[in-house]
């Protein structure tokens, strides 16, 4: 058996979680969470840690030179820098609509990169 500790980042409370693991790596129990989201966060943090990625892409002919984007769903933590590079290479044309998919299945993660604001053309 072993223990792992981390902070739940699912909401601003930031509960301190303790996960007890069997030798096989299976989760035995989760302590310290205030709500069920903490338990599922702990389980995914042990098996497949994920984070929402947020950055900007360059925009041609927009009211601003860049437009904010996000991963629609959390992306594998280990792939974040690869995703950052893919996003940095992208340039899109204004106008951009909020929710518009800018990269499908980024880095083969099944996660889409979408615009997170409307940006009008000049």
């Amino acid at each position: 058996m072993s223990e792992r500790k981390f902070i739940c980042v699912s909401c601003p409370l930031g509960c301190g979680l303790t996960v007890t693991l069997e030798d096989s790596g299976e989760v035995l129990k989760v302590d310290g969470n205030t709500c069920p989201r903490g338990e599922s966060y702990a389980r995914s943090e042990v098996k497949d840690p994920r984070r929402v990625f947020a950055s900007t892409v360059r925009v041609k002919g927009g009211k601003l030179p860049v437009c904010p984007v996000r991963s629609r769903t959390p992306a594998p933590k280990g792939k974040l820098f690869g995703i950052a590079e893919a996003v940095a290479e992208l340039e899109v044309n204004a106008p951009v609509k909020i929710g518009q998919v800018l990269i499908h299945n980024v880095c083969g993660t099944d996660v889409d990169i979408v615009a997170s604001r409307d940006l009008a053309a000049v």
Partner: protein, 415 residues
Amino acid sequence: MSRDIDVLIIGAGPAGVAAGIGARREGAERVVVLERDWDLGGILQQCIHPGFGLRTFKEELTGPEYMHRFIQQAHDEGVEFRTNTMVFQIDKGTNTVWTMNKERGIEHMTPGAIVLTMGCRERPLGAIRIPGTRPAGIYTAGTAQRFVNMEGHMPGKRAVILGSGDIGLIMARRMIWEGAEIEGVYEVMSWPGGLRRNIAQCLDDYGIPFHLKTTVTKIHGRDRLEGVTVAQVDDHMTPIKGTERFVECDTLLLAIGLIPENELSRMAGVEIHPVTGGPVVNDLLQTSDPKIFAAGNVVIVYDLVDNVSDEGLIAGANAAKYAAGKIPADIRRIPVKGGENVRLFSPQYVTGQADTTIYMRVTHPVEQACRVFAEPDLYSQRLRYARPGEMNEVRIKAGQITPDIKEITIDIQPV
């Protein structure tokens, strides 16, 4: 006398947009929000990371996504917006509001009620005298955030962050994702300024060192920043000799706190609280001038935008009531007092007209089970801990405010 505007709102950040919605829903005919920027949304335009609106929308949105939803609601409710419009004066007494706009020139208006929602700004370098030179490369974290997220410029390649406010933590991760290096985050206090989850997901995730009780004691470089000296501090915040260390960097980001933006409030003659730095308000979010209301970070710096929007809705609704003559002038005002471990709180008066939430921060962390309460016997809630970086709330129902209550005391004490 015919009146043009019923409720005039200054600033179209989350507080101002919500105030517009609140005022229209309360029946105000003409509700106008003035904004100096070309676009609506306030600071949230540049907060492109997720973390907003979990309580309101049951999902974590980025700042622009959160504002998008509120702005749409405001349009649907018939709130009018005027962008590129700077308010530069509010006359004391008459409450005439003066604005400047490139096309419309200088105008003035005297509305039925005013809501102040100008937000806050960051404490600059001048607020914390550091010896040394003043080269390029020193920014407040929020300025850097605007550069990166709205203007597409990186402030530098290797940065040191002074202060552990949330904006600094968020910018540490942001710059890492853009390929920069963050040498470390230095905090003079013995506890972090920002939320624990931001320490976890912005620093720990990327192995960025976080130094408590440590500060920058000198700035080096002639034209461009070349480095800083950091040193540990003792309990009196004096640098400890022998702990100094030179750190090479081309960028220094300051995340050393926010101050409510109240030049206009002062001009208008509104009483400003010496500790919060924002207007003194009652639970209707009415200032010392009955016609002027205030909400959001202009009043007290909140942690969560959900609270800012809530307060905006309340201030807008009450401003609409005032404009319609529905708030009596001789309203009861029961003063709220902060106990031993309370650094600041808002509102400072309770009227008992509606249910209310008092927001507060402790002076010192309490790292054990404790109780947040309001005397006489109005509220009590157990907490696992209380920390200056995380606001606490006291909730009081209108019906609890009986005629015998003369004063309310709020505090947090270990149990």
